[in-house]
């Protein structure tokens, strides 16, 4: 078991949210496994039919010349799609942009979401209203989000431009600038994902046992120390699950950005999933689209495994 930080022994056991199956006897383990299957069962059948099967089909199309609109069955073409993909410079360029985009958005969502959740968890006034406002971005569907932010960023009649100019600043063409477009859309990406992060961390904060906080305070730990040594470890499983999910979603999203910039200017905000979409639905080339997807899947699983591997092996012990 890895060493914990300087927590007193009492707290250490309380915050260990472990799975302990491996240490029990085999008969018990078998019974537990059966229990597990029984519990998970209702979710299994529709999932396998409607999700796993289509997914497996979709992913394996990468090795065929499958077309979306076709009356013939697809033929096996081996790694042909992947070889051609290697030479598609525009795709790899977009891949890089996608990586920057998703890392930036996920990291900012985490930091800002957690900060806001902490604020909402303290007893400030107007907490109810504030919590409600924190979820407001969710009330707008993605297309509307994109259009509103496009209007806000407008260099001719947008409020942001008005604000900057009344403060004496220059007229900035956010979405039209080769250097500012990506940061500008990253900000929108963060905005759209704030509710998910904030609410999850808020719920997580409220699961932190009050006595732990009390005990730490009694032991003389300051606010920052309490945060690092009590709050964060307690939040850990939630942070891991939300951040990993956010990372995947952010890498895959392209709707909002596409409506705002159509991938421009000059391809500076072209995201990889857009390629998949065009390949599948505009060119009807589902084989190549699947190849692109497989590359993305491998990349994301690799990134996530670095993040999650510890959790699976050690059962997320602090």
């Amino acid at each position: 078991m890895s060493a914990t930080r300087e927590l007193p022994a009492r707290e250490r056991s309380a915050v260990r949210p472990a799975a302990t199956g491996g240490r029990k006897t085999s008969a018990l383990a078998r019974r537990q496994r059966n229990e597990a299957v029984a519990l998970a069962f209702p979710a299994l059948i529709p999932v396998i039919v409607l999700s796993v099967v289509p997914l497996l089909i979709g992913v394996s199309l990468a090795f065929t010349d499958s077309q979306l609109i076709s009356t013939e069955l697809p033929n096996f073409v081996g790694a042909d799609n992947f070889v051609r993909l290697l030479r598609n410079g525009a795709f790899w360029n977009a891949f890089g942009i996608g990586a920057v985009w998703s890392i930036a958005v996920t990291a900012l969502q985490f930091v800002l979401g957690l900060a806001l959740a902490l604020l909402l968890n303290t007893d400030l006034k107007f907490r109810g209203v504030a919590r409600f406002l924190a979820i407001i971005p969710w009330a707008m569907p993605p297309v509307v989000v994109a259009i509103m932010w496009q209007m806000i960023y407008s260099p001719t009649n947008g409020p942001l431009d008005w604000l900057i100019r009344s403060l004496g600043g220059p007229n900035v063409n956010w979405l039209g600038s080769f250097s500012l477009a990506l940061p500008a859309v990253i900000l929108v990406g963060v905005w759209a994902g704030m509710p998910q992060n904030t609410i999850s961390y808020l719920a997580g904060l409220q699961q932190v046992p009050a006595e732990l906080m009390e005990a730490a305070r009694v032991d003389g730990a300051g606010a920052w120390s309490r945060f690092i040594h009590v709050t964060l470890p307690a939040l850990r499983p939630i942070v891991i699950s939300i951040v990993s999910l956010s990372f995947i979603w952010n890498f895959n999203s392209f709707g909002i950005v596409y409506v705002m910039t159509e991938g421009g200017p000059g391809g500076k905000t072209l995201l990889p999933m857009l390629f998949v979409y065009i390949e599948a639905f505009r060119n009807g080339n589902t084989g190549m689209a699947a190849a692109m997807t497989d590359v993305i899947v491998i990349f994301l699983l690799l990134m996530l495994s670095l993040f999650l591997l510890r959790r699976f092996r050690k059962g997320a012990e602090a």
Binding site: L68, I69, T71, R84, R87, N88, G89, A90, F91, A94, S154, P155, T156, N157, N171, N173, L175, G176, S177, F178, E262, G263, G264, P265, G266, G267, L270, L274, F275, I278, E279, F281, R282, N283, G284, N285
Partner: protein, 424 residues
């Protein structure tokens, strides 16, 4: 709390049950001699929706045995919807799509209108538009509306600058550039041009210089960027450099720059003909605007034929009845109604005549109609990778070029090589 959950679940289930019970199946059906057909359209300007409803109502009144139902599909995701409908076998009987390159992939599912429409209707269709919708001898759709790109101008600003407002059927590029120069003064640019999506408009206007952008067919097609193709982008780039074009507008869409145009900060704007309907209703009171004659390149004033299309599902329960509806829709007066609402040009002789009558005296329409003559079939309609190339190679390339980041030669290399890469 558990009880509340149970109640909510029951309520939801009840709602669902009643909704399912009311769900009506789509598609055509025959009952007691009456055929019900579904027409799926995507026009979404209120006037166009009203015109569509009027046309369908007229048809239903005149044809009690064939009832047409209307379903509206979103214009932005039309392809997604059609793809799954055709593949899933639930496609409607009569289908409207927004360009030949979008409907051609479905050719296998569509009926041959050459065999179903009266020859009078077929002969009435503009040859370039007809060619753009013919594949393997089959006419897979009837063209109904064609857009062109036009220059809209602020009459007052033009007069103030001392320029003469061009009249006649066409206007040369040199005249146009001269106008832009003359009307650029302190705080006012000669031209604001929404070039966020430049590929289409350059292709349309490049036609006037003989630009084709592609040679060869199918798998052998190659992208070209020669002298003819360079004309329009280079002229625009030089106008930007000289300050006659609003640099902010270059990064915006053609709708976004209208605010600058209405606000008197730019004397002219280039936009699709469909904006004429918007300008009529949105421009501030007292805004005096005109449409300048169609831009003429060194070869002609032609633009591309990429019409909105009307097709018949080959698997419809009553293919002939569906085709009869298409024929009805193609009648001069009906085409005129819908093109007037959408700010487009009918690609048929009778339609043009009817629209001319309908728009007699209306501001700008004479120029719109004149610009729709002598259309040219685009070379890229049948190229499956065109959309891909447009979004991931051409548009970024043009944007970089217009921003002065790459030269004309570099742009040429990017366009040609990008196409080759996509097609290996």
């Amino acid at each position: 709390m558990k009880l509340r959950h149970t109640i909510a679940a029951l309520a939801a289930a009840a709602t669902l049950f009643s909704l399912s019970a009311c769900a009506s199946p789509s598609g055509s059906s025959s009952a007691g001699g009456t055929t019900t057909l579904t027409y799926q359209y995507f026009n979404n300007q209120p006037a166009a929706i009203a015109a569509t409803k009027a046309i369908v109502a007229d048809w239903n009144k005149a044809n009690p045995k064939v009832h047409v139902n209307l379903v509206q599909a979103p214009a932005d995701n039309l392809q997604d919807k059609l793809t799954t409908q055709f593949s899933g076998g639930v496609a409607p009987d009569i289908i409207q799509n927004d360009a030949p390159s979008d409907i051609l992939p479905f050719a296998g599912y569509l009926a041959d209108l050459n065999k179903l429409l009266p020859s009078k209707t077929i002969d009435d269709i503009d040859p370039a538009a007809k060619k753009s919708l013919t594949t393997g001898g089959k006419l897979i759709a009837a063209p109904t509306e064609v857009q062109t790109y036009l220059v809209f101008a602020n009459k007052k600003l033009l007069e103030q600058s001392g320029a003469t407002i061009p009249t006649g059927d066409t206007m040369t590029w040199d005249t146009f550039e001269e106008l832009a120069k003359q009307t650029t003064t302190d705080g006012v640019r000669g031209l604001t041009w929404g070039l966020k999506s430049p590929t289409s408009v350059f292709a349309y206007l490049g036609t006037g210089f003989g630009a084709t952008y592609f040679t060869g067919e199918g798998k052998d097609a190659k992208a070209v960027f020669g002298k003819a193709e360079r004309q329009v982008p280079e002229r625009v780039a030089s106008m930007i450099k000289d300050g006659y074009i609003d640099p902010t507008g270059v990064t915006q869409s053609s709708s976004d720059v209208l605010a600058t145009f209405y606000g008197g900060k730019a004397a002219m704007t280039v936009a699709g003909s469909y904006q004429i309907a918007n300008i009529e209703s949105e421009a501030p009171a007292g805004f005096d605007w005109v449409v300048l004659p169609a831009l003429e390149g060194s070869k002609s004033a032609s633009q591309l034929a990429a019409p909105i299309t009307l097709s018949v599902n080959a698997k419809s329960k009553n293919v002939q009845a569906a085709a009869d509806f298409v024929d009805f829709y193609m009648k001069g007066e009906n085409l005129a109604k819908i093109n007037l609402a959408d700010g487009q040009v009918p690609p048929t002789t009778s339609g043009l005549a009817a629209l001319a009558k309908l728009t007699d005296g209306k501001n700008g329409w004479a120029q719109v109609l004149a610009s729709g003559k002598n259309l040219v079939t685009p070379a890229f309609n049948t190229l499956t990778k065109y959309n891909n190339w447009k979004t991931t190679v051409a548009t970024p390339g043009y944007q970089q070029f217009l921003a002065g980041q790459i030269s004309s030669d570099q742009l040429s290399k990017q366009l040609v090589d990008g196409w080759a890469q996509l097609n290996q």
